[in-house]
Symmetry: C2
């Protein structure tokens, strides 16, 4: 007769992400409202504060009790509603829905999300966006992505851009794009850095 042999595997995987995702959906106990564009989003101040030091300061230090009691929404400018929605989803579930957008739109969405992640100091979301954007580097996107990397201090992404430009064929293709002018105007220091790299190799 066999001796008892309890399974050594861990019972089921963590469901914390799913539970918090449900909380965001149901809005149960929500105590803050954001107004982004024409849309409103209800959320929970303690969850936002736990995840982002910027939300923490805004919601628990700068926000007066009278503001909270008044129940007025917090206006978010310079961000599109679908970007803020994706940001909230990440805050609650630590992941981005894979079917959030078409493949073509993913690169643009990741650019917006990287800016949002930097604004709210969501370090892991920023790394995920850098990671995804590094896969989108091609001649037509290089200048925009490199400008973003420079403006938001994404060292890994900047390195990937410079690696791309280290190929003469890629460099020639990038120089022929209109976007390169944008890069030259917005981030002249990056152009100097690139010239120095090319000159000393």
């Amino acid at each position: 007769m066999p001796l008892p042999r309890p399974s050594s595997s861990c019972p089921r995987t963590s469901d914390l992400h799913q539970h918090l995702g449900d909380l965001l959906q149901t809005e149960k106990g929500a105590d803050v409202v954001f107004e982004v564009g024409t849309q409103t989003f209800k959320a929970h101040r303690c969850v936002l504060a736990a995840r982002s030091p910027v939300f923490s300061a805004e919601l628990f230090c700068q926000m007066k009790e009278s503001d909270a009691a008044a129940g007025g929404g917090i206006r978010i400018d310079d961000m599109e509603a679908h970007v803020f929605k994706a940001l909230l989803t990440f805050v609650y579930t630590d992941s981005l829905p894979e079917n959030l957008m078409s493949e073509d739109e993913q690169g643009v969405m990741c650019q917006h999300l990287l800016v949002a992640a930097d604004r709210y100091n969501l370090e892991r979301l920023k790394l995920i966006c850098e990671h995804r954007l590094s896969k989108c580097i091609e001649a037509s996107t290089l200048s925009t992505i490199l400008a973003l990397a420079e403006q938001h201090h994404c060292h890994g992404l900047k390195k990937a851009c410079f690696n791309f430009l280290s190929s003469p064929v890629n460099l020639t293709a990038v120089l022929a794009t209109d976007a390169f002018e944008y890069l030259n105007t917005t981030c002249p220091s990056v152009i100097k850095e690139l010239l120095a790299k090319l000159g000393t190799r």
Copy 2:
């Protein structure tokens, strides 16, 4: 010159558990207080409700707004403070601290936590406790664990207990314990089930 080769690994692992664990520690934005024994614990209603349908009902349906406004603590009876503390840790982090207790105490703690998990309908915590208790089954603990399994509908744990008792040596050892009398008194239906199993094999 190598072409850019972005890493395909995911940037860092999820930090949601750690962030919520910090939230529990710092008590930032806590809006509910529990009184357990002589200790008090501050927590966040939305997190508790997201994780446990029982907390959800107690904190958002049964609790009157006036109760919340009054700021009075919620009294938890029939549970020791260190068990409630471990329960809260699990609710926020989806894990139990490994160094919570000595190895000897783990079995007893898991018994208490299983009862607490059943009370608050924390299915995954209940499974983890079942899993750990199934490793603690021996002649001296069998009766208590089997009684718990029966009272809290833990089918896997009950099966592990019956497996243990299917060995004549183990059965004889268990029958010689005082705890078997306790099992016989509290769960007579289990004794009948065991007799039926032994009689038909």
